[in-house]
């Protein structure tokens, strides 16, 4: 437990969370490792976990009948993965596949929801941090949607 607590404390997502709240989270946490190519989760499966990534890289993929799996984003060290555990029907919307050997702390979604219900201060704190992650991802996704490197954009000097 001590070691999980220490690892969590150092992660950017959890950093500066009160020791009491970290202890509450640790109760839902376990260490996990994924080999390259191994799936963390698959679309439509129950979203039972929330991942705090320690190292490695995970690709979020959507399967398309025409092109097969398309990677829409990769996440890695210092980032978190998954919010489907938070929103009904608690099902993954994408596939999550380890591209490299990936180490993470997996937090049990049901357990974490329960803790947040019991302790609204923890719930609000986590929600603020998650909102910041959502905002960053949405912002990046919008930029990605602009397709700014498309050759149809007028370019001459570059």
């Amino acid at each position: 437990m001590d070691s999980l607590e220490r690892i969590l404390q150092e992660h950017p997502f959890v950093k500066n969370l009160s020791p009491e709240h970290i202890q509450l989270i640790v109760g839902c946490a376990k260490n996990v490792v994924f080999e390259p190519g191994q799936f963390l989760f698959k679309e439509d499966e129950e979203a039972s976990e929330f991942y705090i990534l320690r190292s490695g890289k995970v690709a979020l993929e959507i399967y398309t009948p025409e092109y097969g799996p398309i990677t829409i984003q990769t996440v890695g060290e210092g980032e978190v993965l998954g919010w489907s555990w938070l929103v009904p029907p608690y099902e993954w919307r994408f596939d999550g596949r380890a591209v490299e050997l990936t180490r993470a702390i997996a937090l049990d979604g049901k357990c974490l929801r329960g803790k947040c219900e019991q302790d609204p201060k923890l719930g609000y704190e986590l929600m603020k941090r998650l909102a910041s992650v959502f905002e960053g991802r949405l912002y990046a996704m919008r930029l990605q949607l602009l397709d700014i490197y498309n050759s149809k954009a007028p370019k001459q000097t570059k």
Binding site: K57, E77, A140, Y149, K152, K155, Q156, T157, K158
Partner: protein, 285 residues
């Protein structure tokens, strides 16, 4: 001689393209290519500073400003990389070894390669924006010991659009340069990063207080990149961008590339962010 006449003659000289022969054409990606040029005249040497551009003229078709993408220390060959996107560059893409084009230049300001000595250097490129930064990379690498960390963050559309791929791979094999490449979309064959280049900034290993950042890419990419760098603590004075507008004369006469109080061709294309932050992102400009 009448001083006014010599003044006009000097300007006229700057407007005259010099013939250069195409020595080699390299197809970089499906829509980008590199031209290696050799002078038809003089001693064949072309001195320039990293970040500068030339006006390249295809006789009978037109003239376009293209950044120099070669090594400033190798003056025998003049190198330009561009994308076949307009009338002139599409025609340029079809040129072959031995064909002749006109060259005027070099024009404009340069990347702060010397001023960055002692600092960490973060080079952030988007798409074809890697080409104008390549001379700076060559120069910095050639004097590696004078700099702190050297980090290249490069974002492009797909893995097939990665410019100078072999050179990047070679550079990545060095132990004293950090290179992170990301693409906007990919299939499973790509094991690298997927996402916009700005997502690489929060975890890039540089000291924001002692960092010089050089950015080149689409303006919107540069805008968001600056935002992330400032969030990390890099000062406006240490962020440099290469701007792009419709350049025609290249010497600040015609006004086509006017950018507020600046002319991109003469006062730029490389500006510090501190210099242009009041203009940057203004829709009217």
């Amino acid at each position: 001689m009448d001083p006014m006449v010599s003044h006009y003659e000097a300007i006229e000289l700057q407007m005259v393209p010099h013939p250069y022969k195409i020595h080699r054409v390299i197809k970089e990606t499906h829509d980008t290519f590199t031209l290696e040029l050799k002078s038809n005249t003089s001693n064949g040497k072309f001195a320039f500073r990293a970040g500068q551009f030339n006006m390249l003229y295809i006789f009978g078709v037109g003239e376009v400003p293209i950044s120099i993408s070669g090594d400033p220390n190798k003056m025998e060959t003049l190198v330009h990389t561009t994308r076949a996107v307009g009338t002139v560059t599409k025609k340029m893409a079809k040129l072959k070894k031995g064909d002749v084009i006109g060259v005027r230049g070099p024009y404009g300001t340069n990347w702060p390669v010397k001023a960055a000595i002692g600092n960490d250097v973060v080079i952030i490129a988007g798409g074809i924006g890697l080409a104008p930064l390549r001379p700076a990379i060559y120069q910095i690498i050639s004097q590696r010991k004078h700099y702190g960390k050297i980090i290249l963050l490069y974002g492009t559309r797909t893995p097939a659009d990665i410019l100078f791929r072999h050179e990047l791979e070679k550079l990545k094999s060095r132990l004293d340069v950090d290179i992170y490449v990301t693409v906007d979309r990919a299939t499973r064959e790509w094991n690298g990063n997927v996402g916009v280049v700005t997502t690489l900034i929060p975890r890039a290993p540089f000291d924001p207080i002692n960092t010089t950042a050089m950015i080149c890419g689409p303006e919107i990419m540069m805008r968001y990149t600056i935002g992330e760098l400032v969030k990390r603590g890099v000062s406006h004075e240490n962020i440099f961008v290469s701007m792009e507008r419709n350049m025609k004369c290249g010497i600040g006469f015609c006004g086509h590339c006017q950018y507020g109080t600046e002319f991109i061709c003469k006062d730029g294309p490389v500006f510090s962010y501190a210099q242009i932050k009041d203009l940057f992102g203004k829709r009217e400009l």
